[in-house]
Amino acid sequence: MAFIPHTEADVAAMLAAIGVERIEDLFDEIPPQLRINSLGGVPEELNEMQVGRLMSERARTDGTMLSFIGAGAYEHHIPAAVWAIATRGEFYSAYTPYQAEASQGTLQLIYEFQSMIARLTAMEVANASLYDGASATAEAALMAVRANRKSKSARILVPTTLHPHYRKVAVATASNQGLRFEELPYCSAEGIILPASLARYDGEDITALVIQQPNFFGRLEDVDALTDWAHAHGALAIAVVNPTSLALLKPPGEWGMRGVDITVGEGQPLGVPLSAGGPYFGFMAARLEHVRQMPGRIVGRTLDVAGREGFTLTLQAREQHIRRAKATSNICTNQGLAVTAATIYLSLMGPQGLERTAGAAHARTRELLAMLTRIPGVRSAFTGPYFHEAVLQLDRPAATVLKVLAREGILGGLDLTGYYPELGNALLVCATETKTSADLERYRTALSEALQAARAA
């Protein structure tokens, strides 16, 4: 099926109007040696019924696991209304709002989204979103280099407690433009960056410091001290945050004495399903003085010729379609549908709903940790404050244990061995408000048995 409506009569009439005999004649400018007659390697078409069966089989093959993993993608309840509205044809099949009069729905929604993100992060201005949290972090580093005029080094300090994939994406995205990412080791007892460890950079030209809160381990960093250190040393402070956590945690606009300069993060927890890794969205917010250095789209409110309020894309002169080689970035999109869902989600949740979600997720994790650390051979890696995620150390390899749990249909967490070998048999676990006490008990039993089996082997 190719959704082509033409009848044979239509085709005949159209060919006659054009003045050719066959459709093939329309390709006569293409050198014949380049033309192919059929596509090998592509299967025959399926109709909807057949495709439906195929996809249902594939979905059944994977099933659904009982999930206790976060690591940058978090399972939260998403009210049905969110995607019922986000997939309305008028949102789903609308284009980028370049013709403002025909796109006031999308434009106003983005304006509302920008406003909500600015308030959530306590920053002055936000853009219409970037691809995901990882690429947003890379863009924040590039933005810091542009915005920090006094610094020439393009050196960006990045904690090793920042999500390992985010660090990789930052290097892959920004190294070609001369940025140098330097890793800050964390304190292995505490699981955070000790502000004192920054002393070795005193007197050096550092362009920006990245701070993730909560960090990849779920631990809470000393964000005030880190932010103030950055500012005292002529560096910009870049915050990477979990948006749900901001219902309970101090927002980056209030870190340290004057707040951070740029905030980014992964927006997926706000009404976007796990969906095998995407599409998610990266949010970005900043101080107003840096707005012209922000990549991506921005919507502004203005008046029309009749004095009516309306919304339009603005500050476009920074963007690729005008500035071309000198653009702030090559980005040509935002994560429209995901942003639509997040805006509806935040409206349904409001400040109280978001606070309850954050609180309940943390409570579940706390309960889970209490249960699991009572099992012999299981202990918490770090003792300090955390938010809804934590690292456990086991007396047997995490990979072995996870395999056994997987056979029970339980996704027990992320094996950290490959990322942080110094932590030994370490497992990153997370429980959200979607888990019941029965779920936690099921995990506890399965883990206990898996460890016993591993010891016996």
Binding site: Q316, A317, I322
Partner: protein, 132 residues
């Protein structure tokens, strides 16, 4: 037909230069340039004290449809950036040769001579060739 005051000097990049009595020069963009850009929404001028080489990018003028770099017409030190333009960028459109000046420079020794600035007549030829 754009305005090209005869008593100023020009560059091919549509900047004008005015010699001031105290030996400094004043720099801005021409009427042709402001017209091509349209209503300016933002102007960034260099900080006082900055040393510029001839041809170095030193300012940005931005409208809704374009953002253009402005280049130093000659080598020198910035003695002033026009403070009015941060709040009222439209001044450049209204008075490109007057209140809409972008910056003032103290020319480096020999800079004016080696800048090979165009006379008004020669700049007009540049405009004619571009077909405006």
């Amino acid at each position: 037909m754009s305005n090209v005051p005869p008593d100023l000097r020009y560059t091919k990049a549509h900047e004008w230069v005015r010699s001031l009595p105290d030996g400094t020069v004043e720099v801005g963009i021409t009427d042709h340039a402001q017209h091509a850009l349209g209503d300016l929404v933002f102007v960034e001028v260099p900080e006082t004290g900055r040393r510029l080489k001839a041809g170095e990018q030193c300012a940005v003028v931005e409208s809704v449809k374009a953002a253009s770099d402005v280049y130093a017409p000659l080598a020198g030190e910035v003695t002033a950036g026009n403070p009015k333009l941060a709040q009222e960028p439209e001044t450049v459109n209204a008075a490109p040769y007057g209140d809409g000046w972008l910056m003032r420079l103290k020319p480096a020794p020999g800079a004016i001579a080696s800048a090979a600035l165009l006379s008004a007549a020669d700049y007009q030829k540049v405009l004619d060739a571009e077909g405006s």
